[in-house]
């Protein structure tokens, strides 16, 4: 029985999207980091930006033929070994629920758990930063307990404040600035995740981890 294959798809002529097969895992994410490092050495590649177990590869020059590049990427994946990016653990105190957690009720309704259980489950793990994206400094985190997974909202909310702690599907993350979001916001935190004048401008990077601590539970 052969292993499931990754998929490569178009994002217009601007980039391609490489998706690792199967379940989301830290091991696959580390192989994605390794693949990103390699792809960025290719002359036609502008950036190779990891997502959650996937990779966006943007073009510096648009390849006249797409398939050879897609094939090369899949071959590189097969031989990519997990890249361990050593990093720091950042503690983030969270005020769960209340005004800063307007969608806690939706998570309760979907999961059937009560607020204390959700907070305990959410704040237990140390979450590795899988990828940056969504907006400046925003971190996609791996390792959320599937018991508190809640689907993204029917219609995205127009404005969620910076520092919002949210659940979208099987993932969790923290907003780095005000903006729209389709995720379920369950709490708030205070942290400066992005400063354009710093080098690098983002506080957290793939390889770092976040540990949420319970500052307060508001009803």
């Amino acid at each position: 029985m052969s292993a499931p294959r990754p998929t490569v798809s178009h994002l217009g002529t601007t980039a391609l999207l490489f998706e690792a097969p199967g379940e989301t895992s830290l091991d696959q994410q580390q192989r994605i980091w390794s693949l990103a490092r390699l792809a960025e050495t290719w002359p036609e590649v502008r950036e190779a930006v990891p997502g959650v177990n996937n990779l966006l590869v943007s073009f510096r020059t648009v390849p006249r033929r797409f398939e050879p590049l897609a094939d090369r990427l899949c071959e590189a994946w097969d031989s990519a070994s997990a890249l361990s990016l050593g990093g720091r653990v950042i503690e983030l105190p969270v005020v769960y629920g209340g005004e800063g957690g307007p969608h806690m009720a939706d998570v309760i309704a979907h999961t059937g758990l009560d607020v204390e259980e959700i907070v305990a489950i959410h704040s237990a793990p140390v979450y590795p930063v899988f990828a940056l994206g969504s907006h400046p400094g925003y971190c996609y985190l791996g390792g959320m307990d599937p018991r508190i997974a809640t689907p993204r909202r029917q219609v995205p909310v127009v404005k969620i404040p910076g520092g919002a702690v949210s659940i979208g599907g099987a993932q969790t993350g923290v907003s780095a600035s005000d903006g729209p979001s389709g995720w379920n916001t369950i709490g708030s935190t205070r942290m400066r995740f992005f400063d354009a004048s710093r080098d690098p401008p983002a506080l957290l990077q793939p390889g770092d981890s976040i540990a949420f601590t319970v500052a307060e539970i508001r009803r």
Binding site: T7, G12, A15, E19, N54, G133, S134, A170, Q171
Partner: protein, 329 residues
């Protein structure tokens, strides 16, 4: 310097966008119509990507504090310089103290939604992460990372060489590079990863029927009203990188096209991506526009890019030939 005379009016400093910062979660930003911005810069002898003022709401006025060579492209706004009408897509010389006024975008054989004021030497705000474009979400770049306000004074860069004497204007690409389907403006789309996971009937409607740009549309994204896209089965995807032009389908089935201020990653299913060569067309469609999506493939998308490059090359060559340089004795 140029001074903004209009109240808060959704205008901002933009160039061709901020590349190489997706890795930090920083999206492209830049002009909604990069073709118009490039043309304005070509008319002035600037680099293609010199920063300009993008205007989205009219009327809009600025005052030139010093003698300035400038160009206006994009939507035809019946522009007047101290009360004298200017040709659309032309360059002109302003004397110190002159006031430029743009009125509402006019109807004509092509109607735009955004206008671009380019100046010789470009708008000289600091580069942030490699670009002068304004990113609102992170308050990065442009003029203080925000939309322009009455009283703002924008510094201008040094013009390259002397001002060009010959008066020239351009035929707008909306006329020179037309694209229509059944009498409506159209944009080409390359299917994306989740294309095959929507029902054939809803995909058929997606290609055959018009969509309308709803009022909930802006530089971040265009929310469309039209035939709903139905997934064969519910989809919950992992977060992944996206680019401007990606057409996302949230749970209610009404597509959202990510535009240049759109976030660099998302998790909604993607039916396709408006090709890069056509994003300027979408960026110039006013709210309320009804338009069509046209299917294309990789070769078709490349051909569209080639056609756009060829047109720009012609503009460059002709502008050079007709500039003061060649006529000088």
């Amino acid at each position: 310097m140029i001074e903004i005379l209009s109240r808060a009016a959704l205008a901002s400093v933009q160039d061709l966008g901020r590349f190489d910062a997706f890795r930090w979660g920083v999206g492209l930003s830049g002009a909604m119509d990069p073709l118009a911005l490039t043309c304005g810069n070509i008319l002035l002898g600037n680099e293609d990507g010199a920063a300009a003022v993008e205007m989205q709401v009219f009327p809009f006025s600025v005052r030139f504090e010093a003698d300035t060579l400038f160009a206006l492209t994009g939507a035809d706004c019946a522009a007047m310089l101290d009360g004298v009408p200017l040709l659309p897509w032309s360059r002109a010389q302003a004397k110190a103290g002159a006031v430029l006024r743009l009125d509402h975008a006019r109807d004509g054989r092509w109607r735009g939604a955004r206008a671009y004021l380019c100046v010789a030497g470009g708008i000289d705000v600091p580069e942030v992460l490699g670009s002068r474009s304004t990113q609102l979400r992170g308050a990065i770049g442009g003029f203080d990372g925000r939309m322009l306000r009455e009283g703002d004074r924008l510094p201008l860069g040094r013009a390259a060489g002397e001002s060009r004497g010959t008066e020239i204007a351009l035929v707008p690409p909306g006329l020179a590079l037309p694209l229509e389907a059944d009498g409506l403006p159209a944009v080409r789309v390359l299917p994306a990863a989740e294309y095959g996971r929507f029902t054939p009937a809803s995909l058929d409607a997606f290609w055959r029927e018009p969509f309308r740009i709803t009022p909930q549309s802006d530089r971040y994204g265009f929310r469309l009203a039209g035939p709903g896209l139905e997934p064969v089965a519910p989809m919950e995807l992992r977060s992944h990188g996206i680019v401007p032009g990606v057409i996302q389908v949230p749970h209610n089935g009404q597509p959202i096209v990510q535009m240049c201020e759109g976030q660099p990653s998302g998790g909604y299913p993607k039916v396709g991506t408006v090709i890069e060569a056509d994003l300027w067309r979408l960026g110039q469609m006013p709210i309320g526009t009804r338009f069509r999506f046209l299917a294309t493939d990789w070769d078709g998308a490349l051909a569209a890019l080639d056609e756009r490059q060829a047109w720009l090359a012609e503009v460059r060559r002709l502008a050079d030939l007709l500039s003061a340089r060649s006529a000088a004795r």
